[in-house]
């Protein structure tokens, strides 16, 4: 592996190469009918893998580790954790 001068990493955000979604044993599923678009889940997700979409929050399962914070904190019970099946 080539080491740059001063070990400067010139690829910001390159951690995205690594898909942490494989860590997950439980999977959050959003019920958009219950969601009030308060975006609290987006704010509190440690992975930053929830994005704002017109219809509501969208989870990127490539990175979601299944921690369950989004489901636990949702005021409207719009997110449930299901057993991950692969």
């Amino acid at each position: 592996m080539k080491i740059t001068i001063g070990a400067i990493n010139d690829k910001p955000g390159s951690s995205k190469n690594y898909k942490t979604g494989s860590w997950r044993t439980l999977k959050p599923v959003i019920n958009l009918e219950k969601c009030k678009k308060c975006w609290l889940c987006k704010q509190l997700c440690p992975e930053g893998c929830i994005t704002k979409k017109e219809e509501g929050p969208q989870i990127n399962y490539d990175y979601c580790k299944g921690c369950g914070i989004c489901a636990h904190e949702c005021t409207f019970d719009a997110i449930i954790m299901e057993l991950e099946e692969r």
């Binding site: 070990a7 990493n9 390159s14 951690s15 704010q43 440690p46 992975e47 930053g48 636990h72």
Partner: protein
């Protein structure tokens, strides 16, 4: 719908449910891309900068364990020389890197008056190396170097009052914050970045691995820390502790037991025999601290 770019990217290796990335995302959301960071060794650095990758979307310099504040000082002076007064400098460090080994560098940074926001991410132990006690570890906590047992209640020293120590340098802004109160945290970041001099932000970051709780409870524990008075949210302009402003007062203060019993690091206070004496001591210390802050609890 347009969305602001995340400045801390997916793919980092923090444990599931870790609150350090939650705090960093909130801080960077407020600071924006025109920011240079420094970071010292600790979980945040290890999980986000494994060569050849990085989760950071801002320029970041990795310093040694003790000198996030010193490296930030150099960056700040260079930026001012270049006339780049609009670029924020944020020094990140864990509690080990702040309360213990980095205290001297931090004190120098505060005393010299650099315009830097120093963020201490406090998970109350040296987590990255395996949950060793620190001067930030609260009384009664079991860690791998303050293990609870027949003759030990766990950590037998009080948590060091780091906020008061920093404020005693008469810096323009000192505050505490935690991830369960995003608006409070972000407002404090905004204020800290606006002052013309050093600011210190002490952020409580519950750690599921070291505190031994289930990953979904991270934010709940941060909230419980505030609702029990274990961790008081406050801010202070200048060095006079009499002027501390408490920014969050729960409607009803919960007993510390509600916070302790949810964490494996306090399991020994409940089993095999309930250690009412230790729990009462922790409660008394909290009550005393609230009195000193001028807070009266409703009954």
């Amino acid at each position: 719908m347009t969305e602001e770019k995340e400045l801390f990217a997916c793919g980092h290796r923090a444990c599931a449910g870790c609150s350090e990335p939650i705090a960093v995302r909130m801080i960077l959301e407020e600071a924006g891309p025109n920011t240079i960071g420094t970071i010292c060794t600790g979980c945040l650095e290890v999980v986000s900068t494994g060569w050849p990758e990085t989760a950071w979307e801002i320029p970041l310099i990795h310093a040694a364990f003790e000198n996030s504040a010193s490296v930030a000082s150099g960056v700040e002076v260079a930026l001012r020389q270049l006339g780049r007064d609009d670029t924020h400098v944020i020094a990140f460090a864990g509690d080990g890197g702040t309360f213990d080994i980095g205290l001297q560098a931090l004190s120098g940074m505060l005393e010299r008056g650099h315009k830097i926001l120093y963020v201490c991410l406090d998970n109350e132990a040296y987590m990255n190396t395996g949950i060793q006690r620190c001067s930030s570890t609260p009384l009664g906590t079991s860690t791998t170097t303050s293990p609870a047992g027949t003759y030990s209640i766990g950590e037998d020293r009080q948590k060091k009052p780091i906020g008061a120590i920093c404020a005693a340098h008469c810096i323009p802004y000192t505050a505490t914050a935690t991830i369960a109160y995003p608006q409070d945290l972000k407002k404090k970041v905004r204020k800290a970045l606006a002052v013309n001099g050093p600011s210190f932000l002490h952020v409580l970051v519950p750690c599921p691995t070291g505190w031994r709780f289930s990953s979904e409870e991270t934010v709940e524990l941060a909230r419980l820390a505030v609702e029990t008075g274990i961790f008081v949210l406050w801010e202070l302009e200048g060095g006079n502790l009499q002027n501390i402003k408490v920014t969050k007062k729960p409607k009803t203060w919960r007993p510390v037991e509600d916070y302790l019993k949810q964490q494996g690091r306090y399991k020994h206070l409940f089993k095999p025999k309930k250690r009412q004496d230790v729990i009462e001591k922790i409660q008394q210390d909290v009550d005393q601290k609230l009195i000193e802050l001028g807070i009266t609890k409703e009954t």
